[in-house]
């Protein structure tokens, strides 16, 4: 789960990381008022969970409170990469001498947190990483020891940071480590961390991603979830413990297990069709879950057939079959359905479905080929 810039910076601030003065506004008059409090020169920043806000015109400098109001009106009416701008952050404008990049994320290959920093921060940081990888300083952090002071100091030295900034930089790095480790973050990023013309270090931007599995111990963060970034069916799916991602094809898929769901999509493609979605009903899928899954799949108007592939392990096929029957009577699907049940209680499941008007299959390949064939029949 990703946090907005203003939410991330508020958290940073609690951990002693200096941020610009500023507040978030939901309309242009609020924006004007905040700009007046900050005495005029401000940056108006769209709060949407996508990259490239600046390039899309979603971050603008205002020279007066009146101009801030105008820009807020403009930006609050924008959509950036398909997402509506509902809030703008009004931050004091500062003079910038230098831009630094600083982040902590999970390094999958070493299974440790990694701090990355560069003296060439800013929007082109990925370019820097490609062009001059030696300019990205990487330090692995022992998860049991935490970030040690010498590590932060080494980073400051490696970036050629002037000596008078070492102390404040070390404090920011330590603050960032605490933000990361105390909030179950998977990413904390300051880009840029600037040296201002009046010689302060300031986190101008902030990003945080939180581990979904860690949210149970951070209810105050869980409340910050922005539902705009998720399609309504995905939100609905989460309510039932399903995992759903919409795609562009015509064969809806209902599968238990993420790996098998992906393999089922792959085999549909291999058979000449294209999957309409990824849907993992998870373990122990009862009737209500199956019904919800079917509703969500059929909410996509492109779906011409549904393929249900269940390999019963923990999940019992007879239970799934009952779910399919009650889902059919509730949802009344108008598209053909291909069902394949294998594993625990598959026999019983198939018996239950014998009288429903369904196409059945024994193997995965057969199931995929039959779904592709019925789609061709219904779409001349």
């Amino acid at each position: 789960m990703n946090l907005h810039e203003y939410q991330s910076k508020q958290i940073f601030s609690k951990y002693g990381i200096p941020i610009p003065r500023g507040r978030v506004a939901a309309n242009s008059s609020e924006a004007k008022q905040i700009a007046e409090e900050l005495s005029g020169r401000v940056v108006v920043k769209s709060q949407v969970l996508v990259g490239g806000r600046g390039k899309a015109g979603g971050i603008r400098l205002a020279k007066s409170a009146e101009q801030a109001e105008e820009l807020a009106t403009l930006i609050l009416g924008m959509e950036i990469k398909g997402l509506p701008v509902r809030k703008v952050l009004i931050d004091e404008a500062v003079g910038i001498d230098k831009e630094i990049y600083l982040s902590i994320t999970n390094d999958r290959s070493t299974r440790q947190p990694i701090m990355m920093a560069s003296g060439e921060g800013g929007v082109e940081i990925e370019e820097v990483a490609l062009r001059a990888p030696e300019k990205i300083i990487k330090v692995l952090i022992d998860p049991l020891l935490g970030l040690r002071e010498f590590q932060s100091r080494d980073i400051a030295v490696s970036m050629d940071l002037p000596k008078e900034y070492w102390r404040p930089f070390i404090q920011i790095a330590e603050g960032l480590w605490r933000v990361y480790s105390e909030n179950d973050a998977t990413l904390v990023e300051i880009n840029p961390l600037v040296i201002t013309k009046d010689k302060r270090l300031l986190a101008l931007d902030g990003k945080m991603s939180i581990d979904e599995n860690g949210l149970f111990r951070h209810s105050e963060i869980a409340e910050k979830r922005d539902l705009d970034v998720e399609a309504p069916p995905e939100i609905e799916a989460r309510k039932y413990g399903l995992s759903y991602i919409k795609l562009d094809g015509e064969i809806g898929c209902m599968v238990n297990g993420a790996g098998l769901a992906m393999a089922t999509m792959d085999i549909i493609k291999l058979s000449g069709g294209s999957p309409a979605n990824f849907l993992d009903i998870g373990g122990g899928a009862g009737a209500d879950k199956v019904a919800a899954a079917l509703r969500i799949i059929l909410s996509d108007g492109n779906v011409r057939a549904v393929l249900i592939n269940i390999f019963g392990g923990i999940t019992r096929c007879d239970e799934v079959a009952r779910g399919i029957l009650s889902a059919i009577s509730e949802v009344q699907p108008k598209v053909p359905m291909v069902v394949r049940l294998v594993g625990t209680n598959a026999e019983g499941g198939r018996h239950l479905l014998a009288n429903a008007n369904l196409i059945t299959a024994e193997t995965l390949v057969e199931a995929a080929q039959k779904s592709v064939a019925v789609v061709r029949e219904v779409t001349p």
Binding site: N106, R111, I125, N213, N256, G259, T363
Partner: protein
């Protein structure tokens, strides 16, 4: 023969009295696995499964009383991290954590601690292991595989079952099947399991089932080309999956473009692995 577990393994189940824990303990016992103890704090002194398995309050006491040397964890996610530390502290050398939903940072701490102790962990969020005809630790259905000489290692759950079942239908047997789990931070990885299969005299072929994300398959490919003499057949799920949405730059900087199905398939093929187009093709590829 087998890797990790066999008929002599003395298995302890943490979370034995829970709904899932009890159901799967019963399945393990019915399969003939030596389940010697269960642990549920507060239920010490009870017995489950008609007096077949004694329940203890603590893992340490259970190990002292029964000589358990493998733990299988079914406790809910928010208690699992502690359960893993508890098992390691009690001196259990091999832990299977079936539970899903454990926070990544917890797992990073667990990994660091277990490495220092020399304790092996499989999982979390995994189906465990099955040595057909001998023992099972976890939730892989026992009836979908027969004993044989093929080692199976996988990041998935049900996709693994699909492969075991396809092998069984062709009369092909398995030495051991290990599901290592699909979380970003896990215990034993492909390379460690491949090493065990390479050294196991009763495994002649290996099936590796991967999926998109991370770079474990790429690393496995490098290991295979350098150290494996036994033939390996692979499959990668997720060839049609859309690229994930990503925030910030850090992920792009450290992972730089790796992790797609095409990358992984290429890496495996370059290491001499025969890569199947779909799971049901695997038995035929093993025959040829």
């Amino acid at each position: 023969m087998s890797i990790l577990i066999n008929k002599n393994s003395r298995i302890l189940v943490q979370g034995v009295t829970g709904h899932e824990g009890l159901f799967h303990t019963q399945q393990m016992v019915e399969y003939g696995t030596h389940v010697v103890a269960g642990v549920t704090p507060g239920k010490g002194g009870d017995w489950v499964l008609d007096g077949k398995v004694p329940v203890f309050d603590s893992t340490k006491v259970a190990v002292d009383a029964t000589g358990a040397n493998v733990s299988v964890i079914f406790v809910p996610a928010r208690f699992s991290t502690d359960a893993i530390f508890e098992a390691a502290d009690a001196g259990i050398p091999l832990i299977f954590c079936i539970t899903e939903g454990i926070p990544i940072q917890d797992m990073m701490r667990v990994r660091t601690y277990l490495n220092q102790k020399g304790v092996r962990l499989v999982g979390p969020n995994c189906p465990g292991a099955l040595t057909p005809g001998e023992a099972k630790a976890g939730i892989i259905p026992g009836n979908i595989a027969i004993p044989g000489n093929i080692g199976v290692v996988s990041r998935s759950g049900t996709l693994t079952y699909e492969v075991l079942y396809a092998l069984k239908l062709k009369g092909m047997g398995v030495s051991t099947c290990v599901g290592i789990g699909g979380d970003p931070v896990i215990g034993m990885n492909f390379i460690e399991i491949l090493g065990l299969f390479e050294a196991d005299p009763f495994t002649d072929y290996v099936v590796l089932i991967g999926e998109i994300g991370g770079s474990e398959e790429e690393r496995a490919a490098e290991y295979i080309s350098r150290y494996m003499t036994k033939p390996v057949v692979g499959f990668i799920a997720g060839q049609t999956a859309p690229p994930g949405k990503r925030m910030g730059h850090a992920g792009a900087i450290i992972e730089r473009g790796s992790g797609t199905a095409a990358d992984k398939i290429r890496a495996l093929a370059n290491s001499g692995v025969v890569v199947a187009r779909h799971p049901e093709e695997i038995p035929d590829l093993l025959i040829s």
